[in-house]
């Protein structure tokens, strides 16, 4: 049990900083310095699965790393980094995300959309519910949901965005 847990923990611990940095730097910034920092600490060194695991994240150019100091948008970015990192240990074939961009300003929405676009592939499918153009305009296909009033029912239509030229 300890071995299984430690294998998972080591993987997440190893990658969290890199994934948080990838999410928080500017999409076209290739420098190594860009982005924030993130880390994990174990409370119980000998039997880590018996204690808690604390998550810290420091947004770019900020000072504090406790979650208590992060704004709504900053917490969302930190949460997504942790989620993607944990998932990468045993990657699921698909993700379903419901309005995870609610607290994000347009720049951060673009960072997340960009990250998803870069990481989505035939073995990593992203299904994202969003109200924000900056998110859904980057996807390959759209599923539009609407209410059919007379029938008192929800309905769906699909649209493949790749059929339309990039302007």
């Amino acid at each position: 049990r300890k071995e299984l847990f430690e294998a998972c923990f080591k993987h997440v611990d190893k990658h969290i900083d890199q994934i948080y940095r990838a999410l928080t730097k500017n999409p076209h910034d290739k420098s190594e310095l860009a982005g924030g920092n993130a880390s994990l600490t174990v409370e119980n060194e000998d039997e880590p699965y018996l204690g808690g695991i604390k998550y810290f994240a420091t947004p770019p150019l900020k000072r504090f790393k406790d979650m208590e100091y992060l704004s709504g948008g900053e917490k969302t970015m930190a949460a997504l980094a942790l989620l993607f990192t944990i998932n990468s240990y045993q990657p699921s074939p698909f993700f379903v995300l419901d309005e995870v961009d609610a607290a994000l300003d347009i720049t951060n929405v673009e960072r997340i959309a960009h990250y998803i676009k870069r990481n989505a592939n035939p073995n990593a499918q992203f299904i994202v519910i969003s109200l924000k153009n900056a998110m859904f305009e980057k996807s390959q296909s759209l599923v539009g949901i609407f209410r059919e009033q007379e029938d008192n029912s929800s309905r769906m239509v699909s649209l493949n965005l790749e059929n339309y030229d990039e302007d």
């Binding site: 847990f5 294998a7 998972c8 923990f9 997440v12 409370e43 699965y49 204690g51 808690g52 695991i53 604390k54 998550y55 992060l70 709504g72 917490k75 969302t76 949460a79 997504l80 942790l82 944990i86 998932n87 240990y89 045993q90 699921s92 074939p93 698909f94 379903v96 995300l97 419901d98 309005e99 995870v100 609610a102 607290a103 676009k117 035939p122 073995n123 499918q125 992203f126 299904i127 994202v128 519910i129 969003s130 109200l131 998110m135 859904f136 980057k138 996807s139 296909s141 759209l142 599923v143 539009g144 949901i145 609407f146 209410r147 029938d151 929800s154 309905r155 769906m156 699909s158 493949n160």
Partner: protein, 190 residues
């Protein structure tokens, strides 16, 4: 593997049968106005994967079955006394509703999943009826929940950990969850 498509039958706000395919897309967005049914579609995906119902916003599994017709009479629950008649045409919920002839008695969601090492896709179906019982089928053959869950786990779909689902309003909690809760999540994944 990848999710090819879904079929919903009388599930939440989706009356009768609806289908959606994801085609070749690996980045699909679901859009629409407030209340149109987007989160209900996510509930459908969680439901068909066998997620326990307390995450699905409905207090009882039977609430997941489509209900459309407005019934006459006053279906208030318990001892709550209404002060107005102005909303006599809306309902609190199904606890006191008697199922009329016209309401559906069951609902199902199917998802079609393409495994990498098979030619034929695999179909997972979960059905719920008005007594609250779930029936699980793989390729239209009934199986136990244990078998159903194992088949999903073999594809790294870890339903207990839910590490690939983020419900509406939930994302910040992933970062601000207590240390014990994060340990639990890592345990479920490993």
């Amino acid at each position: 593997g990848r999710l090819i498509g879904l079929e919903l039958h009388n599930f939440k706000s989706y009356k009768d049968t609806v289908q959606v395919g994801f085609g070749e897309s690996y980045f699909t967005s679901i859009i629409g106005p407030n209340g149109s049914g987007k989160s209900n579609l996510m509930d459908a995906i969680s439901f068909v994967l066998g997620v326990r119902s307390n995450q699905l916003r409905s207090s009882a599994l039977v609430d997941l079955i489509y209900r459309g017709r407005i019934e006459n009479g006053d279906p208030d629950n318990g001892n709550a006394k209404r002060m107005h008649r102005s909303d006599a045409d809306s309902e609190a919920g199904p606890e006191n509703a008697t199922y009329s002839e016209e309401e559906p008695r069951s609902a199902y969601v199917s998802c079609v999943y393409q495994k990498d090492d098979l030619d034929e896709p695999t179909k997972f179906t979960r059905t719920i009826n008005t007594s609250g019982d779930s029936v699980y089928k793989i390729n239209d053959r009934a199986v136990s929940y244990k078998k159903y869950n194992e088949e999903l786990e073999s594809e790294n779909i870890l339903v207990k950990a839910k590490n690939f689902l983020v419900f509406q309003g939930d994302v910040e909690r992933i970062a601000s969850q207590g240390p014990e809760s994060l340990t639990l999540l890592l345990e479920q994944v490993s």
